[in-house]
Amino acid sequence: MNKFAVLFLMVFALPTLGSAPAVSGVSALPEQLPPDLVWETNLDDPIYASPNAVRGGMYRGFLGSFPLTLRRVGPDSNSGISPYLRGLALGTTGLHPNTLRPIPHLATHWAYGSDGVSIYFKLDPGARWSDGPPVTADDYLFTLEFMRSPYIVGPWYKDHYTNVILDVKKYGSHIIGVLGSAPKTPAEMHYLYGLQPVPRHFHKLDENWVRDYNWKIEPVTGPYHITDIRKGKYIEFRRIDDWWGDNKRYFKYRFNMDRVLLKVVRTANTAWQYFTKGELESFGLVLPQLWHKKARGEIFDNNYVVRYKFYNDVPRPAFGIYLNEDDPILADKRVRYAIAHAMNIELVLEKILRNDYERLQTMHEGFGDYSNTSIKARPFDLSKANTYLDEAGWRERGGDGIRLKDGERLSLRVTYAQPHHTVRLVVLQEEARKAGIELRLQLLDGATAFKQVHQKRHQLAWFGWAGGGMSPVFWEFFHSDQAHIPQTNNITNTDNPEMDRLIDRYRASTSEAERKILAITLEQMVHDQGSLIPTFKIPYIRGAYWRWVKLPPAHGTRSSDVLFEPMPYSFGGGEGGPDIGGLFWYDAAEKQRTLDARDRGIKLDNMDWVDETWRVN
């Protein structure tokens, strides 16, 4: 369920990311290809797939509900299969999941314009659509036309391809230039200004597009295409036999399954039953009650399935308690500090979450050198909380033990949207009483909670922003431009001139070194501001899979937020992020052995593993 919350929030968070106004003046792409471009590529990073991988077999996964469309964009296009559809629509470049440097996908080389906002790509002449034609520069020009078209009814895409990507130009059949809206560091340019081509020969854009293309199978550049659907039941993907990318450095030994069958299984409980019968290859078990209570029985005792725990190092969703500084009580920094010290997060971790989750220390964990690892979240400390509150004038205590100041009670509303988080909040509530703080829980449904918080009508918001991106973002969360007005993401209403100054510098800078220093300073200022109490993180993924699925020796990558994605998959199910899908393969002999052993009730050797390669601290 955590994941759902994150995804839900992401849907809302992304549009504002996209529409952030440009920092610099807008330039234009030159008419002719600039002669002084320095073309770069990257074929030196280590490969992260295993040369031992063999091709073949079928991977069976499940979808919670059948998608309402096979379109990648437009109404209802955000469904269980959209991460796969987005993944199969490869872009110009990907990110190496371990080094986080760009790697060739549909482009072989790239170069950065001298203006700091343009990037040029040399396209791979061998790349082909799954229905045959080669991928050319025209398909990228069409991307812009397509995404900006009113007929696709895709507001987010329209905004992104209008306000973030300003222009695309063709400089020959396999060279394009892309103009972005704001100067970025080279790595961020790939992430933000990279493009997925759209097959011009396939689409006919008119007012009927949404309806006519609802169930049409769009040609892809990736290694799988949809070969069979039965509405309401399943979707089948098959490997393209002589995929153009088969021998490319970073695609080799990957995408090993011949077929991928995604079956509709309505509830997680039923899916679990399928898994225990061996009809699904893997199952995620991040939630404590699943891992500790469900993952038992013969298939575990006899080791027919493998239990794993894999630590990754990725931007963590910023789960925390967001304090609204515009609230008269919370305007006092000492009260904010006191609240932070009165939240017994440690107790919740230990007694409710079985220490499976860890304390999130800052809002910006997992960004590598951009993260300030010296900051530690304020621990539960009643004496500190009491001192701060006494200083702030909340000295008296009422008959119920709650502090008073000029007759007003220190009573604060906590807005949250996840019913199963109530158990965590009641513990915090009881503990906070000890400091004389009353928390009133207000459980709202997701959309209402988000609305209240986005309109800045909350006091404390129990909330999470989805992680992602190459580096932390400060402007939309902490700049005074975004404070005191509804519908922005500065939900703490942080308004600090010194921070504004640094945030502006951070946004304008294209030097990675400078940005890193600024980010670390800004994170310290966010901590000092005290308007955010970081709560939990889950620094790993864990689950179980049947023995016949084989993983590379490294199991996954630094950026793997999931291990068992058979097809191309970008971190978080998005576009242009670290490329982590298709690393595992299928061992038919092992499957036979496992099933035979199960039939005869024989115990096999234990293959459970924990991989801490990418564990931070």
């Binding site: 199963h420 158990v423 009641v426 513990v427």
Partner: protein, 348 residues
Amino acid sequence: MWQLNPLTLKRWHRFKSIRRGYYSYLALMALLLLALMAELLSNHRPLLIQYQDQIFLPTYGAILPGTTFGFDYEYETDYRELNARFKSGEIEGRMLMPPIPWGPLESDLVDDDFPPHAPSLARRHYLGTDGAGRDVLSRLLYGFRTAMGFSLTLLVATYSIGVAIGCIMGYVGGKFDLLFQRVIEIWSNVPFLYVIMIVASILPPGYWTLVLIMVFFEWTGITWYMRTATYKESSRDYVMAARALGASHSRIIFRHILPNSVSTLITFVPFAIAGGITSLTALDYLGFGLQPPAPSWGELLQQGTEDLDSAWIVSSVVGAMTLVLMLVTWIGEAVREAFDPRKFSYYE
């Protein structure tokens, strides 16, 4: 109010003679009484503390800060800690805990086990705990009080409105009657659950908002019966006679018609109470009900059905619901039988 006239007395005796209904009534009243004094039965505060020649009765009223007993904190005394010190002789004193030494909001987070904890006599969680370590029996008890309170408030409110409007419809008749019939028909076709969902998305549901919304939709039910009863009574000879004597409309309605149609109303009361309890439970279950951490049966039911491995949660709340609804239904049946006009009304 109405005196116990011979007819009412007869009905009461008749009700008493229906054993199942009468005992259910006694049992329900006993449960209600227990729920009303829930603080004395289930609480993290002791009933009685004897400390340094002083007697404390901490159950009701303000908290006793830890400093009262020589601790160094100002928040409410940790009575469990205090009791342990009493027992070890470290501090002189004694305390008497309630039969269920747990409050409905208190999490019991024991070492080397994670909530929900199974029922245990040793820790005095007679029905175990829920997912946050809160005592199930305690939450059932307090939840029952809330549900009954909710149900009775709802009953009084809907009946006041419904009876008034139904009565006027039947008594005035004519266009007023016609108009209200149509209004009520339209009203009762508004999908109630959708409205709750919409309202819940605008303002956070609380006890009184819920009562208000429910009253808003439930008052229509009783109007039909009241209208018919009034129609029937107002055409009777004694009403004519009263009118001929010059009695006012209000006198006729309140002195003559209402007392004579009360039997219709009474038979619906127990079922309306059962309806109120199930509604609140259903709303809580769906998450549109009371705000956490209020103890509620619906919330327990929701936790229980999500965690079937901890069977004590779901079985406790289902058991409690079945028991209460069964008692109420039995009472209802007995009331209906006792008030059956075929036994006590005489027609010419």
